[in-house]
Symmetry: C2
Subunit: 413 residues, 2 copies
């Protein structure tokens, strides 16, 4: 461990929002504000772009109660970005600017709260600062509903999204079987390359009211088999509920939704959507049945009203541990979760893993957790996911609607 | 009031499900089971079709705890239908069959739980039974998320759907403003002819995080004005959140979504959907902005996890009052709600209104509650809707997921 380091810290949020990413930010901000070595807590507006633009909020000027409401406030309250930072060996313009800002505010701690791409950003900054000899401790705080971060048992954000998906599928399953006529319902769930979210739909079935079929991107999609499976069930039962991941693709790697896709996001990822509608249209033609497509869309990643208490507390913990570890001398690491069983019950402890080992890898659902037919998950998946959605957190309301944090966002001078 | 009438009762559910329609069914079933004059409580499978098909469940054989869980179980647990019963003066086949079944089980009380079309069914049966001299008391128990039933201040089901819409819009508003780039988001909300549901999106804005623009079907839709309003805001703010009712239509009455529509439901209503996607596509072309369409779809009508306690209790009350009133001698009526102010606070009492006055009329949002520009609701609407979404009911869970009623559904002999 290195020596005591005193200075300001920056917390930034990046990538797609989740229901609990602000809980991690609160974990960082609250802990940092209480830490003597940290002289000032700055929140970067829209992640690394806020650093580049010198747009930093002075978190010390916020009301403590309003800050605490970050626990119940979905999405990234400081603003997010999808800015892809260059490789410093090719173009170090951004890094020079970041160093300039770090020096301006005497920033000695940098906490970055995000997913795969954000850990890559974090890693590059960490290495650049070491290279130029500027002492600054850089820590990654994980978040992603996709749950695809390497090196951690699970990611903050996943449990709450999974709980929303499972609950919504239970409700839709009840609704979609109400008439005496036939009906096929297709629910489209997020997850570009990993099926963790789509698999969560099976938790609904586990509780007695959920999808009959679940399609994950870990298995190559076979159009003919898909239609045969749905139509076979439809003929038997009259009602079929199907959950599909937005990321399902053919054996050649092309997304099933691709025909519908024209634009890409800032990282060059294809923007998916409209898959359920496309499958529903084809099923309508093939069966003549009433077919309905439901896309959970943004709802699944911002449903703070249905957050998992376990997820929320772990999200806060990740932020807190990041600060404590950095102050203790750690740098270039991400906070990760290790699952433990204590007296037969789920427990979770943190560990630190090198950013270099996590950046840009994607963790997928093990093939052994998917059934032989490739149209559902196994009990292993249920056993994995169920502990992560547990508990109802207290949440502030006003007029029976959510009461979100109202931050002043005073720019640092 | 007429004399004491002893016999069996039938409860049926009809039309689109809601989050609390089972609470009304429970209000009927529980009260009927406790009423000495009612010798047997029968649940019709899929509404009036269950009567025609002689498919009736013996509710007396259900476990009391499981029945009580109907309070937290969304959708119509007995099954629903969209069966349009004929005019008895033109074709009395169905009525003869209903009479036959009523005689078979000595049914003297008929409770029908539904919306406009169901009250029409209820009214026709009531008049037929009177005409043929079969003593049977017929009561309508209102439900509809659309809130468009005539003669009642509001309908069971509306408050919970409104709460879901408002909460979801608050969450989406947080998510949809997270990036530093521009974004337009369109949320499509149910409501074929009335804007009560779409207007509920404005509750989110009232709480500080909601749509900028709200379009109701009570105002003729003007395509050019719509695009001008959205693009004007987009240029000013960079982020725009729009709520649209699925039922918006042009001055000639044609639905904006019509181009997308091919099929109709059992009552000949056009099946709407895909409107938000259509508007989003056009906005994308016009602005070049990132545009996202979100359709709340079935989620808004079955979200029991976010039910309003006020709505849930009133839904139960409607069922209970229907039974008590029928036993006291009433028939041919629907239970309606009258809003009262007690010590400055919202209160609600029931009254009975003739089925003939409610059947097939649709109650719309008063034009005075819509702003001059026709793109939002006024404070009067907020004051109307806000009391209806109040309170968090207790709800049974298992593994932090909903625990729904598990009924045996034993067919009556």
């Amino acid at each position: 461990m290195s020596t005591k380091l005193t200075g300001a810290c920056i917390i930034g949020q990046s990538g797609g929002p989740t229901a609990v990413i602000n809980a991690s930010a609160y974990g960082v901000i609250k802990t940092a504000l209480e830490t003597p070595e940290i002289t000032r807590v700055l929140g970067a507006a829209h992640g690394i772009k806020g650093v580049l633009d010198d747009k930093l909020y002075d978190m010390g000027q916020e009301d403590a109660y309003e800050l605490s409401l970050l626990m119940n406030t979905p999405s990234s309250e400081l603003g997010s970005c999808r800015y892809k930072i260059a490789d410093p060996s090719k173009d170090d313009t951004d890094y020079k600017r970041i160093l300039e800002i770090f020096k301006k505010y005497d920033v000695r701690y940098f906490f970055y709260n995000g997913g795969n791409d954000s850990m890559d950003t974090c890693n590059k900054i960490s290495r650049y600062m070491a290279q130029v000899g500027y002492e600054c401790r850089v820590m990654g705080v994980p978040k992603t509903i996709d749950n695809d971060l390497f090196g951690t048992d699970h990611c903050p954000g996943y449990g709450s999204a999974a709980k929303y998906i499972a609950t919504s599928c239970m409700e839709v399953a009840k609704d979609a079987c109400v008439y005496d006529s036939g009906q096929i319902t297709i629910v489209e769930i997020m997850g570009r390359h990993a099926g963790w979210l789509a698999g969560a739909a099976a938790l609904a079935t586990h509780m007695g009211s959920g999808p009959d079929l679940v399609y994950l991107p870990e298995v190559d999609f076979n159009r003919d088999e898909f239609f045969a499976e749905v139509m076979n069930l439809y003929e038997k039962k009259g009602k079929v509920l199907v959950a599909v991941s937005e990321g399902i693709h053919y054996a050649d790697g092309s997304f099933v939704s691709e025909a519908k896709t024209s634009s890409t996001d800032g990282f060059g990822h294809a923007q998916l959507g409209g898959l359920a509608v496309m499958l529903a249209e084809e099923l309508k033609v093939r069966t003549g049945a009433k077919v309905r497509a439901i896309e959970l869309s943004l709802l699944q990643r911002c449903a703070a009203h249905l957050a998992s208490k376990t997820d929320l507390e772990e999200a806060f913990l990740a932020g807190k541990v990041a600060v404590e570890s950095a102050v203790a001398g750690e740098t270039g690491k991400m906070v990760a979760f290790v699952r433990e069983t204590v007296d037969g019950a789920y427990a979770c402890r943190t560990e630190l893993i090198p950013l270099t080992s996590v950046a840009n890898y994607e963790k997928k659902v093990p093939v052994a957790w998917i059934n032989k037919d490739g149209n559902n998950v196994t009990q292993e998946f249920i056993d994995y996911a169920l502990p992560l959605i547990q508990g109802e957190p207290e949440r502030a309301t006003e007029q029976s609607l959510p009461r979100y944090a109202r931050l002043k966002k005073v720019l640092a001078e």
